[in-house]
């Protein structure tokens, strides 16, 4: 799941560095993108393109592997075979997505181990929503349906981007996500239309998650030169606001139709088709993304434990003469 706009850090430095790029190569590169052709790993590309894509795909990959944890915890507890098998398969897919995305990022020159190292050392970010816990089964269902839904909005947009390996990974990911979305919806509907206990559980989980969901796409974009360039290069495919609007339009009606409410009195669709809502608490969002959320420490600790516990296995499997070569595509 988990598109990358949710970590939304387009570089803020004053210059784009474009003045240092070869103007002829740059023009060819831009012409290729304008023609609708994809960029492949061995093509010439501007530094800014490489840097921004690496960061974006890497954060997307981190979000998948970290995102496997809040749902992974519910595998053993999932009620009944049907849910259990699906929950396992879904969490497995998320780990698989991480693998696909790390591979795509590797084609840009950063090794997977370096990315994993940066993750466990707190040097890179992942989608902020995974810094919140899933205290009940209903919370897990909310992620399966609505966080995945948000991610799909992002991923469908990004799949039309300009970088070949990222598109290839996203095509596969989107195909798998179709199941996540249906499964999550199915589980939420069962609870929302179920017994009073189930309804209450689901409503409470939704109330807990809604503020985080509203921050999922990040704050409104500041329309900087950077943003414009990245959109022209088809690195950033839609503004955060456009994604949020699309998400609300697709899913709020589906939430309401099963009798659930959303904890925002200002949420409504205007006559012009635009959704209105209370501005999310971006100060709190910043606080959490910078490490002070309920689960930040645990997420990193768990990843680090997985790394450390697995180190002997990787040491033993390593062939001394083996040379790492980054994937081709």
């Amino acid at each position: 799941m988990y598109g990358s706009a949710s970590t939304h850090d387009i570089p803020t430095q004053a210059t784009t560095g474009l003045e240092n790029e070869d103007p002829i190569l740059l023009a060819e590169f831009e012409a290729r993108i304008a023609r609708g052709e994809k960029i492949e790993p061995t093509d010439w590309m501007p530094q800014l393109y490489r840097k921004q894509l690496t960061r974006m795909i890497e954060q997307h990959a981190h979000s998948e592997i970290i995102g496997s944890l809040p749902e992974g915890t519910w595998i053993t507890r999932a009620p009944g075979f049907r849910r259990k098998m699906a929950q396992m398969a879904k969490v497995q897919d998320e780990v698989g997505h991480a693998q696909l995305l790390y591979s795509a990022a590797e084609t840009l020159g950063k090794t997977r181990e370096q990315m994993l190292s940066d993750l466990v050392n707190g040097k890179s970010k992942y989608s902020n929503v995974f810094n919140y816990p899933t205290p009940t089964w209903a919370d897990s269902n909310v992620i399966s349906w609505l966080i995945d839904a948000g991610a799909i909005v992002n991923q469908m947009a990004n799949a039309k981007g300009s970088y070949g390996p990222y598109c290839r990974a996203l095509d596969r990911i989107c195909a798998e996500e179709a199941f996540h979305l249906k499964y999550g919806h199915d589980a939420v509907v069962h609870m929302a239309t179920g017994t009073p206990i189930q309804r209450k559980m689901m409503q409470e989980a939704l109330n807990r998650w809604w503020p985080a969901i509203m921050t999922f796409f990040g704050p409104s974009d500041k329309m900087s030169t950077h943003t414009e360039i990245l959109m022209r290069w088809k690195v950033k495919m839609a503004t955060n606001d456009a994604c949020r609007q699309q998400f609300l339009d697709m899913y709020v009606p589906k939430i309401w139709e099963i009798g659930l409410t959303l904890p925002d009195a200002n949420l409504r669709k205007n006559e012009d088709g635009v959704w209105e809502f209370s501005e999310p608490d971006w100060e709190d969002f910043k606080r959490v993304i910078n490490g002070d959320g309920p689960c930040n420490a645990e997420r990193i600790a768990v990843r680090r434990a997985a790394e450390e516990n697995g180190a002997w296995v990787r040491r033993a499997m390593q062939q001394p003469k083996a040379q790492y070569v980054r994937p081709l595509a």
């Binding site: 290729r32 052709e37 994809k38 960029i39 492949e40 061995t42 093509d43 944890l69 992974g72 915890t73 053993t76 049907r82 699906a86 398969a89 897919d93 698989g96 693998q99 696909l100 591979s103 590797e106 090794t111 181990e113 994993l116 190292s117 466990v120 050392n121 899933t134 070949g164 290839r168 990974a169 596969r172 195909a175 199941f179 979305l181 249906k182 919806h185 199915d186 509907v189 239309t193 009798g259 420490a297 645990e298 990193i300 600790a301 768990v302 450390e308 180190a311 990787r314 040491r315 499997m317 390593q318 062939q319 083996a322 040379q323 790492y324 070569v325 980054r326 994937p327 081709l328 595509a329």
Partner: protein, 208 residues
Amino acid sequence: MLFSFDPRISRLELPEAPSLPTDKVALDQFPTYEVFHQRKENAAYAYVGPVHAPEADVAFLFGKEQFSRRFPCTGMWVVLTSNIRVTEYGDDQQSVYDRLPLLPADELGTADAADLEAYDIFHLKKRGKAHAHVGQVQAASPEAALQAAKAAFGDQRPVVNVWVVRSADLLRSDEADRDMWTTTPDKKYREAIAYKVQDRIDRFKQEG
């Protein structure tokens, strides 16, 4: 001890404060293998993506689950990434073969049949799509194989990029291993189509 809602994590008994950051050792980095799969009987093998693995047999184990668990599959090939000879990338609509310089015969190695080996050729038809297998040629080197590929498949277009792999470097699933994939289509629980909930929603609205 770290408190967690996750019983699995509680069982790991992690310390409250994480240990000092440790950079991963470079050693951890395995080589990469590129994986190709066959979607159905007689279909061309197509590129699906890479795996990290210490050796080809492990790459096969990994590739099988990462790339063939969700969709029908009848066979799989893996090859060490560094064993793939890659041409430059052309524009969509063109053929990179057109830009391939014809090598003089003496640079292509001997024409001695004993030195010839099979090479597998993969084409990329469009940027952003996946390489697909087009066939085999006999040649004495990867460069010669590329020339032979141009002769054999050069009339196909567009060809944005070509991969050349010595056939002996490909680890291929056995015919006898096909049954490893027989139950994949039965695993309906991981398909969107298995979740039909509209009736329940309609009933709920009616009872509303």
